[in-house]
Amino acid sequence: MSNQVTLSINNQSITVPAGSTIMEAAQKLGVSVPHFCWHPGLSIAGVCRFCMVKVEGMPKLQIACNTPATEGMKVDTVSSDVKDAHKWALEFHLINHPLDCPICDQAGECELQNYYMKVGKYQSQMEDEKVLKPKALDVGDTLVLDTERCILCSRCVRFEDEVTKTSTLGIFNRGDQATIGTYQDRKIKHNYSYNLADICPVGAFTAKDFRFKCRVWFLKESKTVCPGCSTGCNVNLFQNSNQREYYRLKPRHNADVNGHWMCDVGRTMYEHLNASARLPAPLLNGETVSAQAALQAVTDALKSVSADKVAVVFTAQFTSEEYKTTLATLKTLLKTAPKVFVWRDESEKAEDFDGILFRGDRNPNTRGMMDVLKEQGVTPVMLKGDFSALASASAELTLIFGPEVEAGYPNLAKALARFVELKKAVYFGNTLSESAKKMWLRMPVKVFAEKNGTFVNFNGVAQKLKANPPVFVAVKGVDEYFSDLGKMAQATL
């Protein structure tokens, strides 16, 4: 028996593994079949009855999501009776759906809205009053539930049962009284809750973090990689480009890295990108200077100290390209490799893993950094809670590359206090922490959303970042600073 079956959809033939459904075959072929309850990352429920297709030889229309593809099957998704079925299925879904779109955060990316525009009936024939249900329920720290908007597709229930295995949600009551809800005295509290707002095809689950902040049609998405931990989930980052303000992250499917999901910790990775959370310009002895002047100060300092009195402290939150440029420039200028330290947070448990996506190593590029250091022939010294190695190096110039995501460094202030004691410390980072104020020189740097570069995740998968326009135009990336610095030093030789 063959492991492959060949069927035809709208007279286009497609071969899929045996056991695949018509929906999967259609997706593979690029034919869109309207659906609500089917989600590629969850089990099949077949409850929304929206993905009707016509199969030759079957007396009635079949649902594409739960009908296995068989050899020689002939499927039609465009005939008039299929369109009619979609139209009426949608009419039934809309019977009790409130006209909430003006205050619903999902409006603009709502599957119900989109399908209504595509296959809707436009003139409802429903005469009875809509059934009213509880709205704006607090179901946890991250989500708001509106049971009236729900179309009972059960995606959230299956997510809770299958992905997080927390089973907090269920469908209660019957008929038009059926509502989605949490079991008594239980709340949604796990690290993957925002995925519920993502998979909800309507606005029943909305994220508290994003609630009423911005309408989605003002947002532009860019494809990037989450810097929250060493898993390196593929994400879409949403920015209001008129305001230069970032609002949220959503997962992007990548079967090799994160599948369909991402964690709630990763969802906060937009906060440190916005102007209010960042250092806008270099501070030399606490005074704002131009980037040019700041780099000149670093160049002069590099020249005035002997090569063995220069130390570099890395955190694994920069791109591989940045490490490469930094080390190469320093090697050229100093004629030898500087002493390299790697700063890890005291409380870090790098091997921790929650079984789904989130890892204890809160640095996105540990592997990439180590690869570059090895390639450059540098053996780093670890600084984890104990900074005596750095102190005993008695460096006269220390270049510190601080963490971009400070949430992964709960003991940041403690470490900064140690760095301030050093003679001439240059801090590359956007921290607004009080402890950093006494640093000799603080250089603002680009954040992950503004860089072109590579993160290598825990598994050795190298992933490219794509740059958005920077929030502060004058702020550059570490690699750009060091290539400028290299040129400056050459010019004054």
Binding site: P98, A107, K133, A136, F172, G181, K187, R211, F212
Partner: protein
């Protein structure tokens, strides 16, 4: 057979000449002037600003925000006016309303009136009849005036109260809400739902 003789240049005719027509026009002016001086005819000139001209109710002048019957702002901060505005002069910041039946309301609602082109698209886009363009047309002011209309100004300014009056309260139907929306109950079981209506 009737025909018009066009062989002569009409400009040469004394009746169509420059001087003659000017005098005829001056005559009309003098007659009207005399009639109005002696009160035989009413003047069309409005003595603005002492007298205000009454435009039609459909006149699209300065914006105002309508109210709910209880006096609160009608706007739900859906951003449709801001989206539709070709001049991008509307700035809204939405917030969570203390009344759960309303959910969303504008914390800030501002119109940069210098950018506004008075096209009326905001009014068109509004799904809840919250923003209207009023009868007010004299908006001149000095440079130091604030040219951004704030939410309070759009809701409460005297000109709106005087000219729009009772019509500022929108009669549009309120959305009906389930009883539970006003409660702070954490989940659906607490209100004992299940059977009956």
């Amino acid at each position: 057979m009737a025909y018009v003789n066009v062989s002569r240049d009409p400009a040469r005719n004394l009746k169509n000449g420059y001087l003659a027509t000017s005098l005829v026009g001056m005559g009309t002016t003098l007659v009207t002037f005399a009639k109005q001086v002696f009160g035989l005819e009413e003047s069309n000139t409005v003595q603005w600003p002492e007298v205000e001209y009454q435009y039609s109710e459909r006149f699209k002048g300065a914006h105002f925000l309508t109210k709910r019957p209880d006096g609160r702002v009608r706007c739900t901060a859906c951003f449709l006016c801001a989206t539709n505005c070709p001049a991008q002069c509307i700035t809204i910041v939405a917030g969570e309303s203390p009344d759960k039946g309303v959910e969303k309301y504008p914390v800030r609602f501002e119109i940069d009136i210098l950018r506004c082109v008075f096209c009326g698209y905001c009014e068109e886009a509004c799904p809840v009849d919250a923003i209207r363009m009023g009868p007010e047309y004299s908006m001149a002011g000095l440079a130091e005036r604030k040219w951004v209309y704030t939410k309070d100004y759009l809701l409460e300014r005297d000109a709106v109260k005087r000219k729009v009056g009772e019509k500022q309260v929108s009669k549009k139907d309120e959305n009906t809400k389930h009883d539970s929306v006003d409660s702070s109950l954490p989940n659906i079981h607490a209100q004992g739902s299940g059977h009956g209506h």
